[in-house]
Amino acid sequence: MRRWQLSRRTFLRGTGTVLALPLLDAMIPTAAKAQATPPLRFLYYYVPCGKRVDTWSVGPLGSLNLSLTLQPLAAVRSHINVISNLWNYGATAQADGAGDHARGTAAFLTCAHPNKSDTDIRNGVSVDQIIAARYAGQTQIRSLQLGLESGGNSGNCDSGYGCAYSNNVSWADATTPLSKITDPLAAFNQFVLEPDESALAAAHALGRRQRVVDLVRADAKRLETRLGVRDKQKLDQYMTSVDELDTRLTSQRSDLEGGAVCQGTAPVAGGDTLVRVRNMIDVMVLAMQCDVTRVITYMRGNGGSGRSGFAPGVAEGHHDLSHHEGNTYKLDQYAKVNTWDVQQFAYLVQRMAETDDGNGKLIDHVLAFYSSEIGDGNAHNHDRLPVIVAGHANGQVTGGRHIVAPDRTPIANLFATMTNMVGGGNRFADSTGLLSALTS
């Protein structure tokens, strides 16, 4: 959190990968200290471009026999469930033609049907934000939006959909996408103190930031009366951000002054994709371990990402490979990318299984959702989505199962199951009920 020495950080870089230091009681923020019911964290893990169907598909209902693509999960099999046959109707074309990647990414956590436009951006509220609202005021950070791709360089993202749809899975409301941090170091800086940093000095520095927040809030209020309707909507997003930062600073100061400090060593800036992925996952685990936030979204790439060169032995672009058209070579390369993504998720699950959060292991107090905007990459559809759920949600979810829902079960049923766990209602978007098999 060496934010008042940002330049020093910029030049000296960090000392290694993100490394959570051994957790001493004093370091655990107050909120996370042994509670009757440990806080339940939710993590939403997005990967682009769907799955290769035949290597992903898991055998029949019941005990989980890991498919070829899912082999990397073998060591953490008891902590995960694979769910088949979930469907995102909002992502389907309906009358809107092509653009499945952007539409599927926008609908990924909203289950809404986004308005097809380059500039008139309208989507729905995402499930992570429903849950974040339930936890408001209980943690330093209301919700954390992370990703790996900083946004493509070309303008028209996908067949008439603006890039806001492809680049964001977290939506505060229909017109407010919550943009993500794509630099692990910047994410780390939001809440972690390095070993040589003084908690009281950090708290003092945050106090100065609160002075700034107070002054700019007054600026915004004066400005508000002088704006037109659409300008006011833009200023509203700003005001919401100001209030959220104010709340965050108050909470962080209070924890720091109380001696509850989340400590770690900073990640190296830059690095190849694998290093950045692992750093980002380490930052997520640290955020959950310290209970600075209970809601995280993470985008491994942007919607329909064409990136290449991250999975070993795959030089071709991911999106291009997903349209394999039955070509044997492309199918194999596509499967390698799928496997690589599952490996990274397995690393996350492994880290959560090892990490002590003050109430036991983090994996017991988490529900982590892994999926994509597309089911079958080649067919561009939104049914039979690849879905993995990790964690035991405070004893509510038993692992090691393959849950086979009826075909075209709304994925909103899974999200409603999540909101229901935090008293956020048993309905979400187009849900038709709860996915009771998960918790039975």
Binding site: R3, R211, D231, S241, D320
Partner: protein, 543 residues
């Protein structure tokens, strides 16, 4: 060449799915003539947040900030090909956190630089030396002076009082004068008056109002510099002269002559002419590396820079019989006698396509990692050269696609696009244009056989009966089309205004073009005409 209002693009006409797009694009319609009888509707721009590039440039110009802070901010969601469209630029806590942190850091570094500056040079921030830790007069000189430049307008009394509280409050917290300056600077750099390009309501009863002088100065500098106005431009706003069209035009010319106008090349032209596609391209060929990517981008930038500096007719971007290469690109193209990193003007070698459509940047940016894509190449021409974007493909595309022999010539493979009429309407335009460029591989190198060893066939036959023997006559014909000029004007306006062009903007866009007909729509003249145009200098009041 004279532009007419209701021209219907021969290319785009066949791709009928785009006409009358409900999103409100400016596809021509027979009713346009009637629209232009009265004063043109200037439209209304949604308040624009600074893009990451604008933010970086602005900190550089305000403080001499030498840190590239782009990575600290979330990416800007693009639309309409650009990253500065008001409607889609959103703000979240991740932005605000970065603004505040960067504000403290930039102030700290600026103070250090000021204290280490050579004697006799002006301070960027520390414009006075405090007599003591509570020197409010000095604090005001520094912080009010800075905030005025950051807000791009004079401060109100209430804003001054508010900033003054940074000194008293910071001192009360036990911090020193320097820290109070940091708080003041961070406040200015996090304020909505800095982050947004605010254009406040005047409360006027009329339907259309002039943009205020400071707001106009801001529009001008972010258009041409992607950065904040300088002192001279703010002075022209303050003394009222900027509203005079001749002064405004002179200021636009002055800004264009400044090195900061390079942002029109790096930011506007790069986004328009496909350098974003090039940046995202991932060719698998071993000879492709970042140096080659940069050289490819450099060629297109050099052409646009030349056009901007010499007021070259805008259509010449697609017909120039010359180009610019450095050593690496010359080697790539097989040209002799050019070495080093500098780009030099050379005559086009025989067989190369004139203008941007002959550039490796276009030919690579519109290709797959391991092969060319005639569809993408054709689509680029419709999107960026003619502003006649094809309708999105239908959703059930995979069902419509038949069996294809992957080893057949691309022309035969693409013929399946013509089978289904919903596909054919656009592909019968896109595909032939793209196929004309098959004589260049996915890195833009000439070839006679495609990836599968088939002899390439570069004839372009368009649905309206136009037939071109190859990419050279096709590019020359494109450059002669009035739609190409109209499209360039539309791109400039979209970037300058940060909003989608509507059918009602057609009259203003035509007026901009007409104004530059003497130079055959020279690029420099177009920029100045844009800056003095009705939609740039006025707006609707009622939204």
């Amino acid at each position: 060449m004279r532009l007419t209002l209701a021209v219907v693009c021969a290319f785009a006409f066949a791709c009928s799915g785009t006409i009358g797009d409900p999103a409100g694009d400016i596809s021509p319609s027979s009713n346009d003539a009637a629209l232009c009888n009265g004063p043109a509707d200037p439209g209304r721009v949604t308040m624009r947040r600074l893009s990451r590039i604008e933010y970086r440039n602005t900190l550089r110009d305000l403080l001499g900030d030498d840190v590239d802070r782009i990575a600290t901010l979330p990416a800007d969601d693009r639309a309409l090909g650009f990253d500065a469209i008001g409607d889609v630029l959103s703000t979240s806590i991740n932005h605000l956190t970065a603004y505040v942190d960067n504000g403290f850091d930039a102030a700290l570094r600026a103070m250090a630089r000021d204290r280490a500056r050579p004697a006799g040079t002006a301070a960027r921030l520390l414009t006075c030396t405090p007599q003591n830790q509570d020197d409010i007069t000095c604090f005001r000189t520094i912080v009010h002076g800075f905030a005025k430049r950051a807000f791009r307008r004079p401060l109100t009394d209430i804003e001054k009082t508010s900033l003054d509280s940074a000194l008293t409050d910071t001192r009360a917290d036990g911090d020193d004068f320097d820290m109070a300056v940091q708080v003041g600077v961070a406040t200015a750099l996090s304020s909505p008056s800095f982050i947004f390009r605010v254009e406040a309501q005047s409360g006027a009863a009329e339907a259309v109002e002039a943009i205020g002088p400071f707001e106009l100065a801001t529009r001008l500098s972010y258009f041409i510099w992607s950065s904040t106005p300088d002192d001279a431009l703010l002075a022209a706003a303050e003394n009222g002269s900027l509203k005079t069209p001749t002064v405004l035009a002179a200021e636009a010319q002055r800004l264009l002559a400044d090195p900061r106008a390079q942002s029109l090349v790096d930011h506007f032209a790069a986004q328009w002419l496909g350098l974003g596609l090039l940046a995202d391209a991932e060719p698998t060929a071993a000879e492709f590396d970042e140096e080659l990517r940069a050289a490819m981008a450099g060629e297109t930038k050099a052409l646009f820079k030349y056009a901007l500096e010499h007021n070259v007719p805008v259509a010449e971007l697609f017909s120039a019989a010359y180009t610019f290469v450095n050593g690496r690109l010359a080697e790539h193209y097989g040209l002799a006698d050019v070495s080093g990193d500098q780009f030099q003007r050379v005559a086009l070698p025989p067989g190369r396509v004139p203008g941007v459509l002959g550039h490796a940047s276009y030919l690579t940016g519109t290709s797959h990692p391991d092969k060319t894509s005639p569809v993408k190449r054709g689509k680029f021409v419709l999107d960026e050269v003619l502003c006649a974007p094809p309708a999105a493909p239908p959703a059930d595309i995979d069902e419509k696609a038949g069996e294809v022999d992957p080893n057949a010539p691309k022309r035969a493979q693409l013929a399946q696009h013509r089978i289904d009429p919903t596909c054919a309407s656009c592909h019968m335009v896109m595909d032939p244009i793209g196929l004309a460029f098959e004589g260049f591989d996915n890195l833009g190198k000439p070839r006679s056989k495609d990836e599968k060893g088939n002899v390439v066939d570069v004839v372009a036959e368009l649905p309206e009966g136009e037939r071109y023997a190859g990419p050279v006559p096709l590019a020359e014909a494109l450059a002669r089309k009035p739609e190409t000029v109209a499209c360039a004007v539309e791109k400039i306006a979209t970037f300058a205004l940060g909003r989608a062009m509507k059918r009602t903007d057609r009259c203003s866009l035509n007026a901009i073009a007409e104004q530059t007909s003497a130079s055959a729509y020279g690029v420099t003249d177009l920029v100045v005409a844009m800056a003095t145009s009705r939609p740039f200098t006025s707006r609707q009041t009622n939204q």
